[in-house]
């Protein structure tokens, strides 16, 4: 090693420590930034010459690396659109020009158009929950837009009815069955359920159960709004009439366990009747469920762990609207960090691909939570002291080199 190389080495040392200090400075300044990933400095030796293994003009080079995969502290918030990822994966966001990026900064809030935008101005991407298949890459996603204040109604398509029909009920004569829809019609038991038509109007369906013979019943469904003073005859006949047969051994339903009901001005409602029993106790309905919802304004959203975004309507009902997928790449550490806590896909990282949250390798999405910065202030302060001391040591080397050069210069 030559004396002049001392300068070079110490300058390299000082420069490397400056890089380390810059990482510390960046970390400390972002110690409260949501979704911030700590930058760490990596040092490596740098040889300027190599002479047969004996002597080398050694130096150091430093580079800052963002620890993308490290998870930050979870912070609890009170906004349902504040999202944190518990586990691996990134939110897919786009800027105003449509370029997609990955981020873990999930402090989203609706903008004037209802799009969910985070503090850095990136829009959250997802796909409609009615989509036939889940997109596999970010190009198939759209910005999630919540139509606050818009009226939404969903027609009923599925439902179930669990009830017990008393086996002791008297038989109803064939001519008097509700299906005849005459003023003399009578029945054994009646219940009613609320379904929704295409426009989100609630439609009350009157469901009559009439015993026709031992272990055989007839179920007739009418539109309650066509009833005469709440009873027979209805101005229009039964929507559905179905025969039900029950087992004589255990009272379970043996035939007719699924009914198809065309809701007036609505869709076809498939009613699951597998829970019906015919036992020797009184009539009781234990679990009537019908999907769909009444027309009402979207008032807020709820986001489930698996990324399903539901609209919560003013009347308390919820409508599944979007699915928020998570994206990731083969090598997350090779993502390019950009401002706004976003990461861009690079050649080294591999292309982004999507997956459902809370499944496979993807983490769960937690609503009302944010992922804090991964920076620990105490560590940064100690790193700073170390870097500072190293810098001082390098400057001492420089001084010594300078003195050596001076001695050399004075030899003449």
């Amino acid at each position: 090693m030559t004396a002049s190389a001392l300068f070079n080495t110490s300058v390299m040392g000082m420069s490397a420590q400056t890089t380390a200090l810059s990482a510390v400075a960046e970390n400390i300044s972002n110690s409260n930034t949501v979704g911030y990933k700590e930058a760490t400095t990596q040092f490596q030796t740098l040889l300027t010459s190599f002479q047969g293994g004996n002597d080398a003009d050694g130096g150091v080079s430093a580079s800052n690396l963002v620890e993308v995969t490290k998870s930050g502290t979870t912070l609890t918030t009170t906004s349902s659109t504040d999202l944190a990822i518990q586990g691996d994966g990134f939110f897919v966001v786009s800027d105003s020009t449509g370029n997609t990026y990955l981020t873990r900064a999930g402090s989203f809030l609706p903008d004037s158009q209802g799009r969910l935008v985070n503090t850095a101005g990136y829009y959250l991407m997802g796909y409609s929950s009615s989509a036939a298949s889940a997109p596999t890459d970010p190009s198939g996603l759209q910005a999630i837009t919540i139509p606050y204040g818009k009226e939404i109604g969903t027609p009923s398509t599925k439902g179930s009815l669990t009830a017990n029909l008393p086996s002791t009920d008297a038989t109803v004569a064939a001519a008097d069955l509700p299906s005849a829809n005459a003023s003399t019609s009578t029945y054994s038991q009646k219940t009613s359920v609320t379904a929704y038509d295409n426009l989100g109007n609630p439609v009350t369906l009157d469901v009559y159960f009439s015993k026709t013979s031992s272990n055989s019943w007839e179920m007739s469904v009418f539109d309650a709004s066509t009833a005469t003073n709440g009873g027979f005859p209805y101005s229009s006949g039964p929507i559905t009439t179905q025969s039900l047969t029950f087992s004589a051994t255990d009272g379970s339903i043996t035939s007719g366990s699924s009914a198809s009901i065309t809701v007036p001005n609505g869709s076809t409602l498939s009613l699951d009747l597998a829970g019906l029993t015919q036992l020797g106790s009184s009539f009781s309905v234990s679990n009537p469920t019908i999907n769909g919802n009444a027309a009402s304004q979207v008032s807020s959203v709820s986001i489930a762990k698996n990324g399903t975004l539901n609209y919560v309507l003013g009347n308390g009902q919820t409508v599944s609207a979007y699915k928020i997928p998570l994206g990731t790449v083969a090598s997350p550490t090779n993502l390019q960090a950009l401002s706004g806590n976003t990461f861009a896909v690079t050649k080294e990282s591999g292309a982004a691909y999507l997956g459902d949250a809370n499944s496979g390798t993807m983490g769960a999405i937690a609503s009302d939570q944010l992922e804090g910065s991964t920076v620990d202030l105490a560590t940064q302060l100690s790193n700073m002291i170390v870097a500072q001391r190293s810098f001082t040591a390098n400057s001492q080397v420089f001084q010594v080199a300078s003195e050596v050069m001076q001695v050399l210069n004075n030899l003449k």
Partner: protein, 495 residues
Amino acid sequence: MSLTNAGAIANQSLGAIAAQINVVSRNIAGVNVSGYATKTALVSTTSNGSTQIDGVARATNAALFQNSLQASSTKAAAAALSSGLDQIDQALGLSSGTATNTSTNRSPAALISALESALQSYSASPSDTTVAQTVLSSAKAVAQALNTANTTVQQLRTQADSQIASSVANINSILSQFQQVNSEIVAGTQTGRDVSSALDQRDALLKSLSSEIGVTTVTRANNDMVIYADGGATLFETTPRAVTFQATGAYTASTTGNAVYVDGVPVTGASASMAIQSGKLQGLTQLRDVIAPQYQNQLDETARGLIAAFAENDQSGLGAAAPGLFTYSGATSVPGANVVPGLAGQIIVNPNADPSQGGSLDRLRDGGISDPTNSAYIYNTTGAAGFTDRINQLVSSFSTSQSFDPSAGLGSSLSLTDYATSSLGWFEAQRQQATEAESYQSTLLSQTTDALSNATGVNLDEQMSKMLDLENSYQASAKLVAAIDAMYKALFQAT
């Protein structure tokens, strides 16, 4: 683990403790509020080791709550019935005195027995007009008592009818309030809001609903509740179902009250296939449709028995028997052994025997009250002042068995005196039963309410000790913040 994380944990712990103190203070404030259920803050550990509040849980005991609803329904039914019967009892002075004391006991049984003894005195001195006058006034008192009883019973039915109407209106208004609270709870549960206060409110609404009509409930996803009447008819499912009732303005013995419909299904009355089992509505319809009409039938039969007992026979044996001392407006013949609706309200003392209405007292002794112009109905053909045959015949008719309509529920062959006494006995038994049922159900209700309150109510001692715990935790967390601060200071000084 890092110092920053430690700081964050201490920080969040302070917030979580503050939220818990908030819940404790709500509990302490609710200690004397009836129906307030103890709230507990749900605390859990987050991934970084700190605590967070997941929500507020509310102490519930579904079985006890359902029991208390049932007890309140059964009690309301018993109370409605018992207060109605008490009303008849007081209006007619049925139980307020012994059977012989006719000045306070205005029951038909007591007055009929007074009439019998007046006739017995008359039989001893058939020529004494003062005694005859006593017989007449006793007979008038009997007719009047039956008239009053008839009016009272029908007034009670009218009143029960209007109470049913107001109960139905109340049910409808509770159901519409229920819809609001229920959708608030569903929305809150969906979005993870604290709905515990709304749940308290919903339980209170259910409680007031249960005193009107017996209910069973089913809870669906998201705390959505469905209410069925205890006969199975749907009261509330997403939307309230219509509870309808057509009130009847005035009742007579032959009026049948309208049924109450829930969701188009008749739940009261004879045609009800899904009849309600309890609640004020059930008690009122029981009173209006079963007990009061049956008592009315008995009164009508008593009146008919009187008319039959005092009927005069054609002495020539040609014509039919005709109503004698007791008759009714528009009477042409003595009614057969079937209930004549409203006869108790129409029975009068024949004017032909009443001197104040142009009649003659002597006809009590001689006969011919039915038709003074028709000599065939005169028993004392000679006009002898000592004639006692007819009087003795009348006296014995009180204890002679005659036919009664068994549909009134007192048998088909009894003497007049026995019938009137049995009727009184039947009524008093019903009243006693209703009063006993009410007091039993009241005790049961207060016991289930106590049990529910013990299970879900606020225990002040527990809350106070929890408060002390929280205070200590808060101090510890604050201390931790100070310690972390001191550590940072040390670090800053080192640089």
